[in-house]
């Protein structure tokens, strides 16, 4: 039986401590203002989901 990871070796990039370097490169590709707005959108989205879950 083929391993679950077969075919995706080399398609990930982690630091030695297991940090996803693709996320870091994406964040570094943005300006500081874009980073702030991206993070803020993320938090607001999480809050919206939590609020919706609390109502249902």
């Amino acid at each position: 039986m083929a391993g679950l990871d077969e075919g995706v070796e080399g398609l990930v990039d982690y630091s030695e401590e297991g940090v996803d370097l693709t996320l870091i490169r994406f964040a570094l590709s943005m300006t500081p203002e874009e980073r702030l707005l991206d993070m803020q959108d993320c938090v607001n989205s999480i809050d919206a989901i939590l609020e919706q879950n609390a109502r249902s």
């Binding site: 630091s15 401590e17 297991g18 940090v19 996803d20 370097l21 996320l23 870091i24 490169r25 994406f26 964040a27 570094l28 943005m30 300006t31 500081p32 203002e33 980073r35 702030l36 707005l37 993070m39 803020q40 993320c42 938090v43 607001n44 999480i46 809050d47």
Partner: protein, 161 residues
């Protein structure tokens, strides 16, 4: 609590000419660390003139202590080195008189960079210093962030080589 608007929050501080340094999670975010934070932590200069400018900014933000919503910060609160954990109409704002081993604005200023954020420039605690402080503090919540902070610093250095 209304939706966060950290950009507008920073803008209010900047327009009121408050002297401050962005520290904590937001300093990490501005420098490219892929993390999230729910508050803006700043260390501010505690001289009389800056306290007056800070008070004006906080009043326009309708700032209140998070555990005492009936109480607004005053000059006496801002003169202290302690942490003032506030709610404002634009999001949570922590006004810190000092951080770590009682490090003040004056102690930290040489470990900051000026960063353009939208239309204005803000002073941000350097990633190297943020990492050192978290290593010194050694609390679990600080240690948990270290791999991501270190990996971001290494990637930044690699990109600027």
């Amino acid at each position: 609590m209304p939706g966060l608007d950290f950009l507008a929050l920073l803008q209010v501080l900047a327009r009121n000419e408050v002297e401050f340094i962005v520290v904590g999670g937001m300093s990490a975010v501005l420098q490219g660390v892929p993390t999230v934070t729910r508050d803006l932590d700043v260390v501010y200069r505690r001289d009389a003139a800056n306290i007056q400018r800070t008070l004006a900014a906080l009043q326009s933000l309708d700032a209140r202590f998070r555990i005492r919503p009936d109480l607004s910060p005053n000059a006496s609160h801002l003169e202290s080195t302690g942490h003032k954990l506030l709610n404002t109409k634009l999001g949570r704002l922590d006004m810190l008189g000092s951080i770590g081993q009682q490090l003040t604005y004056e102690d930290l200023i040489e470990h900051t960079d000026e960063t353009q954020v939208g239309e204005f420039r803000v002073r941000v605690l350097q990633l190297e210093t943020l990492i050192s402080m978290k290593e010194e503090l050694g609390r679990e919540k600080d240690l948990a962030m270290l791999p991501t902070l270190r990996a971001t610093l290494a990637e930044k250095r690699r990109l600027t080589k």
